[in-house]
């Protein structure tokens, strides 16, 4: 028996020692290692709750300009009752008419968020003017907890086709907006959010993060959710700043798929020990991102009640 085993082992060693076989084994192991590197972090963090006692802040993007004035207060109350701690809003104002409809809506929104103690994150668009920004911050700046300076600047200046920013344009636009925000001496924390495309223009987050309190990462699609632990770790390493997931959602009419996606993301990000995750959107007129009135709304509320108190 011993002799047979020994012969078999020697035969196996001789076989594996052939150049062709050894090359194939090395290549197969390289592929295996690559798969481990790609999938292990997601698998580890999502397989169990690794940091059950960590504080985790769930936020949501409320597109209040798509609602009626009379609805806004009630919607903020509903968002608060579900357990959301942060409300992310778009930059909406009319600097020419003090009592313009959109200004009244913004007034109403801040009345409600102040009453319910919700933190507000203002997203300043890439092409916003300093004059408009000054008007907004003069009038409502004191209500803000977070200010987002530019939106995924590494991607484009606007959502127009071919509107790619050069590095110089990004940095000068950022500096103009940053100087305007700083001149108001607000207590709000500053951040800029990036899409996963930042890996191709990593100098942008490195440069901008020097003036920011934290950086945001926007995650869409299952594939990038699976890869997100790698992106988060890399973004933290190159900016030396905490990462918050500032946009996270799925546009689909399939509520079950949307719920699975959002809940698995919340579990993952909490398990990784991140400070928070902000969902897009509460309401969304032109696509299927909105979770208001869907089973996803209930599922997210239940998740917050269990995990993010």
């Amino acid at each position: 028996m011993g002799k047979t085993s020994s012969k078999l082992l020697q035969g196996l060693v001789r076989f594996m020692n052939k150049s062709l076989v050894k090359n194939l084994i090395v290549m197969a192991l390289c592929v295996a290692f690559l798969f481990v590197q790609i999938f292990y972090p997601y698998s580890y963090y999502s397989s169990a709750q690794r940091k059950p006692n960590s504080t985790f802040q769930v936020g949501i993007d409320y597109v209040y300009e798509q609602d009626n004035l009379s609805m806004i207060y009630g919607q903020v109350a509903q968002i608060h009752d579900l357990g959301f701690k942060v409300l992310r809003i778009d930059f909406q104002c009319d600097p020419l008419f003090y009592s313009a409809s959109i200004n009244q809506m913004t007034d109403m929104l801040f009345n409600a968020t102040s009453h319910y103690g919700l933190a507000v994150a203002l997203a300043i668009p890439n092409d916003e003017t300093v004059a408009n920004l000054n008007y907004y911050l003069d009038r409502w700046g004191g209500n803000l907890t977070y200010i987002q300076i530019m939106n995924e600047p590494e991607t484009s200046s606007s959502w127009e086709v071919g509107a790619l920013f050069t590095d110089d344009e990004i940095i000068s636009a950022f500096n103009n907006l940053y100087a305007a925000v700083e001149s108001h001496d607000l207590s709000a924390q500053l951040y800029t959010n990036f899409g996963v495309g930042y890996v191709l223009r990593s100098n942008i987050p490195i440069e901008l993060s020097q003036k920011l309190n934290f950086v945001g990462l926007d995650i869409y699609m299952n594939s990038f959710l699976v890869l997100s632990p790698l992106f988060i770790e890399n973004l933290q390493a190159i900016t030396h700043k905490n990462v918050v997931i500032t946009e996270f959602g799925m546009s689909t009419a399939d509520s079950a798929a949307q719920t699975d996606y959002i809940i698995s993301g919340l579990n993952l990000f909490k398990s990784m020990g991140l400070k928070g995750c902000w969902i897009v959107y509460w309401n969304s007129e032109y696509d299927n991102y909105g979770i208001r009135g869907t089973p996803t709304e209930t599922a997210v509320g239940d998740w917050i009640a269990e995990n993010a108190k």
Partner: protein
Amino acid sequence: MHIVEKLFIQGLIIVVILIAIQGWLNRVQQSFMSYLPPIGFALLLFVTYFVQPIILGATNIALINTLHKTRGWQVGIWLNGIFLLLAFTTLNLVLQVALSLPFLPTIGIIDLLLSLPFGCLARLSNGGWTKPID
């Protein structure tokens, strides 16, 4: 010299090179990425996945031929190097994720303690010939 000693020396030298290069890359990563973007990023990828594997592969076969009195190689230098690099970075990633350890000094010390198994992996991943190859 006993075979275990040879494997330990081989593993130790490879691991020290890997730790040194990885530590250096971690330190200069920002400088690379900020240098004439995106040229710096391309250079970082070039150094990480082309230059580094060649250094590792060449060192490994040189060690095998010196310690085990062989000539030539069975596996290409770059392929052997990228294999060793991937084995090393996969181990480090698992340690970093599962145990939340920093690369230096903790993971570096663990890597050094694993010199012998790493030497076995390095020896098995390539080899020379005991007879003249031409």
